[in-house]
Each structure stands twice: as structure tokens, then as C-alpha cells.
């Protein structure tokens, strides 16, 4: 690697690092709602109540809300990327299950808590 390469890669790394650090610096609030977007629409859950549930669009995806955090507990997708993300608690955090077309996002107090209510199944 030449000096020029080091400088260019270094600049990219610093820019990426700054973006990453700034986000964690500014958005540290604990989430209030979990928003789940799936094929059937958008639904919002309070993170206050512990719950284990599945979605009507796919009963093989299981979510767990515990201690103000939410995670993909189980999924039938091949790569399990969504499950590996683990528990989310801070505003702005997201987890995705691409094969199942499902997005999980953490929202703050200002979120529209009404959303569209989906029928969910307790597990």
C-alpha cells in the first residue's frame, strides 16, 4: 500500500467512524415503541409490557418484548440475520428480516402510537 492509499482509506474510515459515533452521541434515549412493518402493514407496540408474539403474515417469526427491549426471537429465514441482531432498546435502532419482508424499528415518545392495529398472536 502506498501512502496515498493509506490516506484515502483513512479518510473513509474517519468519515464512517464520525457518522457512527455522532449517531450514538445524539440518540441515546430509550425507545418507547417498537414499530413492526410486514407484508400486512405497520403496527406499533409499547415496550413497557413484556410479550412474546407472532405476526399474522408469518407465524414463524416470533418477537419478544422484555424489560423495554425487543428482539426477533425466532425466524424461519435461512440466514437468521434478524435473530443475530439481538435485543434493541434505543431510539433509531433497527433489525431486518429481508427474506420475510419484515422490519423492526425502535421509536421514541413522539411516535404515532396508534398505527394500524394488526391481529397478533400471543405465544
Amino acid at each position: 500500500m502506498t501512502k496515498k492509499d493509506f490516506i484515502i482509506v483513512g479518510i473513509i474510515l474517519i468519515l464512517g467512524g464520525l457518522l457512527l459515533v455522532s449517531r450514538y452521541f445524539f440518540r441515546r434515549d430509550d425507545g418507547v415503541f417498537a414499530q413492526i412493518t410486514c407484508l400486512f402493514g405497520v403496527t406499533t407496540f409499547s415496550l413497557d409490557d413484556d410479550l412474546i408474539f407472532t405476526l399474522p403474515s408469518n407465524e414463524n417469526i416470533v418477537f419478544e418484548i422484555r424489560d423495554g427491549q425487543i428482539a426477533f426471537l425466532e425466524s424461519d429465514c435461512p440466514d437468521k440475520v434478524c435473530v443475530h441482531v439481538g435485543f434493541l432498546r434505543r431510539v433509531g435502532q433497527m433489525a431486518v428480516c429481508l427474506p420475510n419482508n419484515t422490519v423492526l424499528a425502535i421509536l421514541g415518545e413522539d411516535a404515532d402510537s396508534a398505527g394500524i392495529d394488526l391481529f397478533v398472536k400471543n405465544r
Binding site: M1, D5, G17, R23, V85, Q93, P99, N101
Partner: protein
Amino acid sequence: MVDVKKITFMGMMLAMVFVLLLIERAMPALPMLPPQFSKIGLANVIVMYVFFFVGKKDAFVMVGLKALFGFLLRGPVAGLLSFSGGVFSVIIMLVLFFMFRQRISYVIYSVAGAIGFNVGQLVVACIFLWDFRLFVFYFPVLIITGAVFGTVTGMFLKIIIPAFNRINGG
């Protein structure tokens, strides 16, 4: 005129892509990183070699075949992501090539290609899910992993170029 030598060489390169993909699948995910970001992208070394030493069009062909392999092995979503990432990375490298030619090193091409691959995948994933918050959320991580793994694959490319040139040119 059918160029038998070129077809044979591309076939060998494709076999290398398959082997590298399998090796990479067998490697454990790096700690501290979500598994979807801990892929080094070793197979892209072959795509880059084809890009620089066989032909620009052939690099697109290689990306398509690689995505087809991903589709057969890991399903339509993985195939689509591999295709979009691969095509976008080759487009980025092509733009850089027309702008800078030999003035920038393979490592820089590789870093640009790796970031391009990540961004292409992310854009298509965002369109697929119709949720563009994902782009903002994942963008910094993709830049950093692209820069790091792009450097690694760029160095790897430098190592294999003389060996591959012996097969290709002989």
C-alpha cells in the same frame, strides 16, 4: 468467432469464485460484527481480476453468474442482493476507471468496489422493503466494513495478479 481460450479462462475463474464463496461461508463470523457485515468478499477478487485483465463486460457476466450461484444456493433474496451489489460495485469501478485509469491503485479500486457492493445491496434492500430509514441506519457500518474489507481484498488481488497472469497470458 468463439474465443475458446477466453471461455475456458472465464470458466476457471467462475470455479474459483465458487470455491472462494464456499470457503467464505465456512469461515466463522467475525466477533463484534453482525454476520451480514462480516463477509470479506474474497470472491470479488476474481471479479476485479476479470475487470482489469479480461474485460469490463466480462466482469458484469461474472457478477451475474456469481449471483446465479447465490440464488441457487441461498435463495432468491440472497441472489438479488448479490446481483445488485455486484453490478453496482462494477459500475463504481468502471466510473473510477474512466476518471483515473492507472493513477489510482488496485487497493483504492477494491475499496470503492467493496463500498459500492455494500451500498448497492443496501439500496436494493431499502427498495425491496420500501423503508429508507434502513439506509441511514446501516450506511456508516457499510462504509467502514467496505473500507476495511476492500483493503484486504485489494491486497489479495495484488498477490494473485502475477499468478493469474501466467495462466491467462500463457
